[in-house]
Amino acid sequence: MTTYYSKDHEWIDVEGDIATVGITSYAQEQLGDVVYVELPETGKSLSQGDEAAVVESVKAASEVYAPIDGEVVEANEVLAEEPAKVNEDPEGAAWFLKMKVGNEGQLADLMDEAAYKAYVETL
């Protein structure tokens, strides 16, 4: 399994042709207490950069973008009931969605862990 990171502070775990997408610990820290999560419907086909989910905190509402092209195969419905999970375990149990990788080539544009860490340092 390989983990990629996007400039929009999302992490992408790729295993076979399935990518699991969530927001990074840095992102949840910036958002503050998350109070609402809106997830995509299963079967929705997304292009890179499309709005995949919405996450709302006491401070702001923001979008989770599809980091690559693909079709949503599963959404983490637990988050809709318990948005606080995003603060508790952002890079684990609080994944947002799983998608079928539509364009493997786009993964090359994403960062690895070291590059993402360096990117966060610059912010």
């Binding site: 207490d33 109070v35 006491v58 401070k59 606080a84 912010l123």
Partner: protein, 531 residues
Amino acid sequence: MSMNTQGRPTSAGDTTETFRPKTFTGNRALDMEEPLIFEFGSVETCGVDLDEADTPEFELGGHERQAEIGLPGLAEPEAMRHYVRMSRNNYAIDSGLYPLGSCTMKHNPRLNEKMARLPGFADIHPLQPASTVPGALELIDELAHWLMVSTGMEAVAMSPKAGAHGELCGMMAIKAAHTAANRSPEIVLVPESAHGTNPATAALLGYKVVSIDAKDDGTVDLDKLKETIAKHDGNIAGIMLTNPNTCGLFERDIRTIADLIHAAGGFFYCDGANFNAIVGKARPGDLGVDAMHINLHKTFSTPHGGGGPGSGPVVLSDKLAAFAPLPFIRKTDSGLELVETNEATTDGEQPFGRMTAFQGQMGMYVRALSYMMSHGSDGLRQASEDAVLNANYIRVGLQDLMSLPYGVRPCMHEVLFDDSFLKDTGVTTLDFAKAMIDEGYHPMTMYFPLVVHGAMLIEPTESESRASLDLFIATMRDLVMSAKRGETERFSGAPYLAPRRRLDETSAARKPVLKWTAPEPVEISPSEAAE
């Protein structure tokens, strides 16, 4: 002895350790604990003396109410005291400086109120025949005239009820113009520094929103804009730009932006929420704008922030003028005429529809025109200049201690700080804002715009005196120094002195209690209810 800023003692004692009695009522002199109206009003009480009804008891075919709804009954003096006491916990521009950035909390001149209460304006009904209210039509037309003059635009749609409603109106006119030209572009460009309602408006009309990044100086990145226009060639409906933008900066490239958008076949919507910074200085029509709403409740001093209602007329360029919504006023040889229906339109008038049931916020039109006429063009220009001067006075008074995200440079009517000056203090923007409440100030806008980390957007009203600004600056400096000295307690638990301590916003959002529940509703049968 502790002194207030005027040097008067704030307590009778000689020491700062003043005895504070624990009161029986929980009140602290004029600071009274006020229960909910449901908690002290009794269901059995009725504040009015009603005659027995002489109509049949029930004719609702079984839909009669089955239980008491538990509305509290109060005598008039009790009801009055309840609301007067609560109003004393309210913070308003009438009670202090209100530096809420992007919101323009202006003083509402008393003269406006006097004019709006003239019976000829206050007592008319929106359904009475237009022929009986020529004065009201003339006032609307006069206000419309000056809105067009001050913006350099061809037409104005008066009816939208507030800013976002105005945006919707302007964008609907743009959509109508595209449709009339047999075009159906799908994309609206919205820079990062625009108001949050801009992308929402575009999305509501079914447009796809494409965001344009800001440059390091907080204004629109022209290269990114050109790139995006090229990428979506032929498919761009328009751009929605806020100028001055939400970073309090004037978009200097606005003319170029207008030309680029027009060349791409799109229209230029300008969010006019910050028009109060440029009235009398620049006309949006000269800058290439096709549509812009004007918040009468910001720029032209009509009340808002709970007092409202807002009012958001939209000025339109010659390219969009024909699509202005119903109703509108037409000048004829025999006077002014209210055009209410499509049948009453003439050649060239192609209204896209109707935004409101009636003519708009008449009471606000009276206030806005009263403000305009009492200020005159020189006064309006000075109000813009003073708004910019006051914001820069605060910027210069604080920039050595607080941090400006885009470097030291003049701002417009509001000044934006980020939270880097609080780094490693353990104090957040939220804590800082709450400590301002203890100092007797309404906090500035915080965490907006989103492009700046821990944003604090301060907009002092142009009518604030120098003394008032000096006290505000001194207070802010004291708070910053306190945070830097590590006095985190002053912030982490703030506000300490407000009627309520810090509210739990997370629980309020996650588990909101939206309804007050009466302890025990009393079940009654219809026959008892009739007694």
